[in-house]
Subunit: 253 residues, 2 copies
């Protein structure tokens, strides 16, 4: 039986304030928990159904995890998602550590991306295209939000995030002299753009307002995804994928 | 004051069975309702806040709509979404009419796309890339689901959908002799693929299982989006955008 304290603790981690206080976050669902166990994140404990425990006993033992067996009903009562039906883990958050691009590396910068589903999708897309560092403005949604972790589908274990003041950040890395490419409605066509072979920074903006003025000042190249129909805009997760796809066709990892 | 009958009617339209019975669906939020009024959909009635009515009175008058003014509280109680705070419309659904590709046209085919958010995103992406016809397997989620309409962001007014048995459909259009390109993990690289200048059909599959065997039999070209990192897969909305973006770079509208 799950203790009341544990239930209370898990529920508290759905709220950012308590994630920061406890330096911990929730990971839900079999695929994400298995990727968590194989990552460099520190796991506090794992709640699993008997079925899950039997199926993955070797993995759970290998990682020497604190494992508690619970019923499906208990799990469903705890999780953020209806489909969370076989396991849930609590892991330690990582410190917010300064990240900068290595020579020839491509990095993503997010200016005020608010929707957790979008951030999770961007993390998954970054992982697909071999991007491992994302710099976020302070008002970008919290990486450790359960909806972000769920949408990232395990990719949260392979992509590092650094929250900072973006203007200060760009000042700090100015000497690296890398191109800063921003997605703008009305920029130059993505299809005509030559992505630098020595890496660079791709900036994506807020869902409604795009890239803010403060960050725009650091953008060296404004790029627009060509439009052929009548939709007013693309979702920021979609736009990120199209930008990275065009970049990787020219500059493979 | 909203009548009890109207409240009951609106709530019933959140369920597919009643949308089919009444041949009607919900459109929520200012942007989507304004695009609805400018489209060839027939609108039954519009509920608006006083503020919305004042701001858009000329549009509402021009369309001769049945407009009822309601409070924000009444609207919030009705809608599917918390952000639905200025208007809601009920419109007539369209008949499920056979669609086929015109010469040189590109069309999308969806095999069992289940998530309403994904279908809405695909509709928006199709609209961006100038695709106006989508053929869906019968088990693909309902176009008129409020979550689809919301995610499509107005593009639902410009993209036509036809639900059908896909195997029968491909048999019917066989004489058009168009290429059928399917997104497969393990297909040929998208970057090396030459999209036919005379149009074709791009097939996207189910979120978990991809394209089914029955439909796979009609695919002439299996294409894979190149991967540079470790993510296992891409979301189907993202994959659709990347496919269409690569296609349009070669074959603009």
């Amino acid at each position: 039986m799950l203790s009341k304290n544990r239930i209370k603790y898990i529920n508290s981690l759905k709220i950012k304030k308590y994630r920061q206080l406890h330096e911990a976050f929730l990971v839900e669902g079999a695929k994400s928990v298995l990727e968590l166990l194989d990552s460099d994140f520190e796991t506090e404990f794992v709640l699993v159904t008997q079925e899950f425990q039997q199926k993955y006993s070797s993995i759970l033992t290998r990682h020497n995890s604190d494992v508690e067996t619970v019923t499906i009903q208990e799990l469903e009562g705890l999780g953020s998602f209806q489909t969370n039906d076989s396991c849930l883990a609590v892991a330690k958050t990582k410190e917010n550590v300064f990240l900068s691009p290595a020579p020839t590396e491509y990095m993503l910068v997010l200016d005020d991306v608010r929707d957790p589903g979008n951030l999770g999708t961007i993390i998954r897309v970054a992982d697909w295209y071999g991007i491992t560092k994302i710099i976020c403005s302070r008002d970008t949604t919290d990486f450790y939000n359960p909806k972000v972790i769920a949408a990232a589908k395990g990719s949260f274990t392979r992509v590092s995030i650094y929250y900072t003041d973006l203007a200060e950040y760009f000042e700090k890395i100015k000497d690296l002299d890398q191109k800063v490419m921003g997605a703008f409605l009305g920029g130059d066509s993505l299809y005509d753009f030559a992505f630098p072979a020595n890496g660079g920074i791709i900036v994506m903006g807020n869902e409604s307002n795009g890239i803010g003025n403060q960050v725009e000042a650091f953008v060296t190249d404004k790029i627009m995804i060509p439009r052929f129909g009548a939709a007013e805009s693309l979702n920021v997760g979609i736009a990120t994928a199209v930008m990275l796809d065009n970049m990787r066709r020219q500059v493979p990892v």
